[in-house]
């Protein structure tokens, strides 16, 4: 008996004191926090596997990199507009008057060990953060992953996108160099263009006439306190909703609307995600160590008089800059001494409208389809031709605006006139989204038709046989059931019928909905039904 006990106690020791220590610590923590319930719940959460489901992760991990590198930067950055003489090691700025903000950023760059690397890590990670959010949103949009019950999470994600842009813009302004000052000046111009309240708001924001002495400290507080707090809080809600709603998955064998097929968080998904975090971190470090970003030492201190050629905002504000550049000149009029600057007001209104439509799109589509069911199966873009076409039109609109921000570089690099580039983009801004809509819809429908053909007749096998009667025929190999499942399981929507309501009236709302619904679902390819499949089996 005693021997057996001895054996029992020595056996775990031989597997390692480490395990015993981990076990002890977990027990200690669990007895005091009852955390094992949460770990068990979360650890068993299943995440489906698809590369496009990892785009949001890229955003999340680059945000962590931003937090870490940004904290380092705050140790040395001085958010003050007090005028100083630069006396650091960068020769072409020695003795120049500048703000303490710019001077401390230069010192951070040239005289603090690792400072330049951290600045570049922070800035590259920021660009990547917004880009990853953008791509993640496109994935969610084109697969219909914003449908019930995820509409609210779409809106939260969208607000995160806007906050990320705000974080980016405030950060871009902090070094107080020439480029960032020019960016602020454009924002100041847009604010001042607002009728009636513009000048008041501008004076409030800048603490007097632009640029004043207050704006940098104010932007700093927004950049390192309010905005990050909001971003973190919203990311937390985004994640909680993701867990509550479960992740969407693509249709496949065994994957239904009521289950999730994939790997559990513990251990597989957590290990993968942890590894992926280090890959994202590694890529950012690699790029930051090899490629210059925002060389503020070239730009010099901010001075309202010079504007450099090739002055652009960071890419995520580019669409707004492009809209300004694409406005025809001279769109303004004077009423009673007040200038109404339409060439600033029209862009503000158009961009706001664009942004709001993106935000409320899930609700618009829900209204059109009248679909109140929950959807956990991600759709293939081709199976919703109209939504895909709307998305393509939106992406094209954005892309033309984006190109507008680079109009001068397009002109110099392609040896053409800047006026020609602007005119072309002005025309494209109106024509290209329509063309993209039409083409995307045709392509989606054609792909659906191809899928239908495949399901009904199988692949062409390149084997041609001669029948006894002399007829030649190519043998078609039928799809296996797994393939077939992917191609046939999708929802079909039909235009909503225009019916009178309970009072026997046809409301204007119903009429509108019916016509929008017709616009959405008039052209459609019906999914293959069992009957058709069976009739094919001869």
């Amino acid at each position: 008996m005693s021997v057996a006990t001895q054996k029992k106690s020595t056996a775990p020791t031989s597997t390692g004191a480490g395990m015993r220590f981990v076990g002890g610590v977990s027990n200690y923590i669990d007895e005091r926090t009852s955390i094992s319930g949460a770990v068990k719940f979360l650890g068993r959460k299943i995440f489906p596997d698809h590369w496009s489901f990892m785009l949001g992760e890229i955003a999340l991990y680059s945000f962590i990199v931003i937090l870490l590198s940004g904290t380092f930067l705050t140790f040395f950055y001085d958010p003050s507009m007090v005028e100083v003489h630069y006396d650091g090691s960068y020769v072409p700025l020695k003795g120049i008057h500048m703000s303490a903000a710019y001077s401390s950023t230069l010192n951070l760059t040239f005289d603090i060990r690792g400072g330049l690397l951290m600045r570049q890590v922070h800035h590259w990670a920021a660009l990547l953060f917004v880009a990853a959010i953008g791509l993640h949103m496109l994935r969610v949009f084109f697969t219909g992953a914003f449908r019930k019950p995820r509409e609210i999470n779409w809106v939260i994600g969208f607000v995160l996108f806007i906050l990320a842009m705000a974080e980016g813009f405030t950060g871009y302004s902090l070094p107080d160099d020439l480029l960032s000052g020019n960016g602020l000046r454009i924002i100041d111009g847009m604010i001042k263009a607002m009728p009636g309240i513009g000048t008041w708001i501008s004076y409030l924001l800048f603490g007097g006439e632009f640029p004043g002495n207050d704006v940098i400290p104010r932007l700093y507080v927004l950049h390192i306190m309010l905005l990050p707090a909001l971003v973190i809080a919203l990311i937390a809600i985004h994640m909680v909703l993701l867990i509550i709603n479960k992740h969407t998955q693509f249709a496949g064998p065994g994957r239904t609307n009521d289950n999730v097929v994939g790997s559990p968080i513990l251990p597989v998904f957590a290990a993968k995600a942890g590894g992926f975090f280090f890959l994202v971190f590694g890529i950012i470090m690699l790029i930051a160590s090899l490629f210059t970003i925002n060389p503020i030492w070239n730009y010099g201190p901010y001075d309202p008089s010079p504007v450099s050629a090739g002055t652009q905002p960071d890419w995520y504000i580019g669409f707004a800059d492009g809209m300004l550049r694409l406005m025809p000149s001279g769109w303004e009029f004077v009423v009673d001494g007040y200038t109404w600057s339409l060439n600033l007001l029209v862009p503000i209104v158009v961009l706001m409208l664009f942004i709001v439509i993106v935000m409320v799109y899930p609700f618009i589509e829900a209204w059109v389809t009248g679909d109140k069911r929950e959807h956990h199966i991600a759709e293939r873009p081709r199976n919703q031709p109209t939504r895909t076409a709307i998305g393509a039109a939106g992406v094209t609109f954005y892309a033309v605006l984006w190109a507008g921000a680079a109009s001068d570089l397009i002109a110099t690099h392609f040896r053409t006139t800047i006026e020609g580039v602007i005119l072309t983009l002005q025309i494209l801004l109106i024509v290209a989204p329509v063309a993209a809509f039409w083409m995307a819809k045709k392509i989606a429908l054609a792909l659906q038709r191809k899928d239908r053909e495949l399901v009904l007749h199988g692949y062409e096998s390149s084997r041609i046989v001669r029948l006894p009667g002399g007829e030649y025929r190519e043998i078609h190999t039928p799809l296996d059931e797994f393939e077939q499942w992917k191609l046939v399981s999708f929802d079909e929507y039909a235009p909503a019928q225009l019916r009178p309501n309970a009072r026997g009236k046809i409301t204007i709302g119903a009429r509108m909905r019916s016509s929008v619904s017709r616009f959405y679902f008039e052209d459609r390819i019906a999914p293959v039904v069992t009957k058709e499949l069976e009739s094919q089996k001869h």
């Binding site: 785009l55 700025l93 890529i283």
Partner: protein
């Protein structure tokens, strides 16, 4: 009326004209002395060099600029353009022009330095104009002041890092990387193509040296942050992050979620 005529009669009727002439000579002479554009000052110019230059000009330039550099519908008059203009336009490979367009393109230099000097000497012999400075006189500027002047005067067309930029109607401000200091100086003094003239009243010779020193600093000191992606600013950074950073990471996501064989 008659009294005023009488009073005027004390002076010679041409005295005011003489005064104006004297004034013009004094101010013009002083201007010439201050700006120091006397062409013969720097390099000794021989008659044979001028003769060579005339021949070279007649065979290579006269079809547009005219046999005596008087200009034509195809090209401007070069009388008074000075040796420095010739040095800039021919020495940088812009002249002879490869074709008419919004702006003369840079191409490989078509002449040897003695040939360029000869044409410069001939053009300078037609009328006084800006002379070619000694290369040694263009050294020793203050890059810090030069950078400040560059941002205020040059960056709006040439970009803060001298990367160049777009102008209207297909014209452009060229990149200023690795340009001969004499040509930088010449561009400021003569205002070639679409560039304005920055006279010595506007930017003094010492300040021009400062600007040259700044451009030299940029040439000799590559970006401390690593490869500079053309020094084009946020556009190239944005393209880079989408294509290489996000593109690379998407490739990694595909790798990570690939089924093992």
């Amino acid at each position: 009326m008659s009294r005023t005529v009488n009073r005027k009669g004390r002076r010679h009727p041409l005295s005011s004209l003489v005064l104006i002439l004297v004034g013009l000579f004094v101010s013009g002479g002083a201007y010439a002395a201050v700006t120091g554009t006397a062409s013969a000052a720097d390099a000794p110019v021989s008659a044979s060099q001028i003769e060579d230059g005339k021949k070279l000009f007649a065979s290579n330039c006269a079809s547009c600029h005219g046999l005596s550099a008087q200009g034509s519908a195809a090209g401007p008059s070069l009388i008074g353009a000075g040796a420095l203009s010739v040095e800039f336009q021919v020495g940088s490979g812009r002249m002879p022009m490869s074709g008419s367009g919004p702006q003369a393109e840079k191409k490989p230099v078509q002449f040897t330095q003695p040939e360029i000097d000869a044409m410069a000497a001939w053009v300078a012999s037609l009328a006084p104009g800006p002379a070619v400075p000694e290369a040694s006189s263009l050294a020793g500027g203050d890059p810090s002041n030069g950078a400040e002047l560059f941002r205020v005067n040059c960056a709006m067309c040439h970009n803060v890092a001298g990367a160049g930029g777009a102008l209207t109607e297909g014209k452009w401000a060229p990149s200023l990387r690795n340009i001969d200091p004499v040509h930088v100086y010449a561009a400021m003094v003569t205002g070639p193509q679409n560039m304005p003239v920055f006279s010595d009243m506007n930017i003094t010779p010492a300040e021009k040296n400062d600007i040259i020193a700044y451009l030299k600093f940029l040439d000799e000191n590559p970006s401390v942050g690593g490869m500079d992606l053309g020094a084009l600013g946020p556009v190239s950074e944005g393209l880079f992050v989408w294509i290489f950073a996000l593109g690379g990471l998407v490739a990694i996501t595909i790798w990570l979620s690939a089924k093992s064989n």
